[in-house]
């Protein structure tokens, strides 16, 4: 993948650490509850960080940026793929969340979404379908491919579109965690309600920033 170095997460390197959130755990209430955010960040994400550092150990892999390891996701140890994916995916996820008060994407990204999916609502519907139909644990993504086209996909567990194992590869600009731990305390089995609430907490300016840096 040619543009990995553009991504803010390219700077992630060993020893990996838990990123500090830009907001309080309660900042996304009532859409995502504070308790879920706290456990998600301090327990789940922390465990991915710890297990990633442990899995890399004294291996030569520690000198490579995490995003380069994804290029060999099918060959590296499952613990590196799983925990490395968990660390990257969550690091991106926290960044693209923010109470948006019903705000929408703007400018070039909005135009591109409309060109690709017909309308913003049709984009949301297709993204929602990818998120709801991912069976088991995983993520739904909006990504930009090497031809600067937008596409929606979903990946199992902690895989992501940067990985060589992804069905379709690209640079994620928006991701939604659909592991049950992301919503179960508040939504239980009602994943569609969680997906609907997600649209109220998308930090569109962050998504736009990422989009513009990749298509440039």
């Amino acid at each position: 993948m040619k543009k990995l170095e553009i991504l803010p997460e390219f700077r992630l390197d060993f020893p990996y650490t838990l990123p500090v959130l830009d907001y309080e755990y309660s900042a996304l209430e009532p859409f995502i509850d504070a308790r879920t955010m706290e456990i998600h960040h301090t327990k789940h994400h922390q465990a991915y960080v710890d297990n990633l550092n442990k899995a890399l150990g004294d291996d030569a892999l520690i000198s490579k940026p995490l995003l380069h390891l994804f290029e060999k996701a099918g060959e590296i140890a499952p613990a590196v793929r799983n925990n490395g994916g968990g660390h990257y995916n969550h690091s991106l996820f926290w960044k693209i969340l923010k109470i948006n008060g019903g705000a929408k994407p703007e400018g070039e990204l909005l135009n591109h979404l409309i060109r690709t999916f017909g309308s913003l609502d049709e984009f949301k519907e297709e993204f929602g379908k990818a998120a709801v139909s991912r069976f088991g644990s995983g993520w739904a993504w909006l990504s930009v491919d090497e031809e600067n086209k937008l596409f929606i996909s979903s990946t199992p567990n902690q895989d992501n579109p940067l990985m060589s194992v992804a069905e379709k590869r690209g640079y994620p600009i928006l991701g939604l965690d659909v592991w049950e731990h992301a919503y179960y305390l508040h939504y239980q089995n009602r994943r569609p309600d969680y997906i609907k609430a997600f649209w109220d907490v998308v930090n569109w300016s962050e998504v736009e920033k990422r989009y513009l840096s990749i298509i440039k």
Binding site: F135, S137, Q158, N189
Partner: protein
């Protein structure tokens, strides 16, 4: 009119008899496994998740008379031939029913007999078996199940992703599942959150080892 009612009743009766795949009642109350498995988890797990798998499975096989009449083990043996909705929801339906039958209020100890002897011979002791079983649960990544199965006379601890199970795409009757633990987060998140190890310990307090030993051939 009377004849019509009798005939209708007869058809309904025959229809009910022919229904191979039924949604069975939970063998105990939602709060029966407290404090190890909480009532709210049990209620949502049974009435939402399990019911959802069953309903979607029935919808997926609707109109397919072969699948409607085949037994679940027979369907699972040939799972590769069927759509993914049959696999995911059929697996979810069958796995949960098996799971409910693996637990009982307060749990029951493993009685003396063939299974106990086999566990001791193969794993060294019950404690060592439990340690291996717990390790398998802890190392499963994502959603899935951990099983104790019997295959060719051997005991094996195996895992399956999502709602797959060890019977799938294996000759019918070649695998005998003895015990299963649901390792989807929905099985424990309300009470245990990220503490999966505590969930396994609690699960082991309500395992019906008497039922498990009866499954052993």
């Amino acid at each position: 009119m009377k004849v019509f009612i009798v005939i209708s009743a007869l058809f309904i009766f025959i229809g009910a008899q022919a229904q191979t795949h039924v949604f069975k009642p939970l063998p105990y109350a939602y709060d029966a496994l407290e404090p190890y498995i909480d009532a709210k988890t049990m209620e949502i797990h049974y009435s939402k998740h399990h019911q959802g798998y069953y309903d979607k499975f029935m919808a997926a096989i609707k109109g397919n008379s072969a699948l409607e009449s085949l037994s679940m083990p027979a369907i699972m043996a040939s799972m590769n031939e069927f759509p993914v909705a049959v696999r995911n929801n059929g697996g979810g339906y069958w796995n949960h029913e098996f799971f409910w039958g693996s637990m009982t209020p307060g749990g029951r100890v493993l009685p003396d007999g063939a299974l106990k002897n086999r566990i001791n011979t193969q794993f060294g002791s019950m404690e060592k078996f439990l340690e291996e079983f717990k390790n398998a649960v802890m190392s499963l990544f994502g959603s899935g199940w951990v099983w104790l199965i019997q295959q060719n006379g051997e005991l094996k601890i195996v895992t399956s992703p999502n709602q797959d199970n060890p019977l799938m795409n294996m000759p019918e009757g070649s695998i005998h599942p003895l015990l299963a633990i649901d390792v989807w987060e929905h099985a424990y998140y309300l009470k245990h959150q990220n503490k999966r190890a505590a969930y396994v310990d609690d699960f082991l307090k309500v395992v019906d080892w008497n039922a498990v030993s009866k499954r052993y051939l």
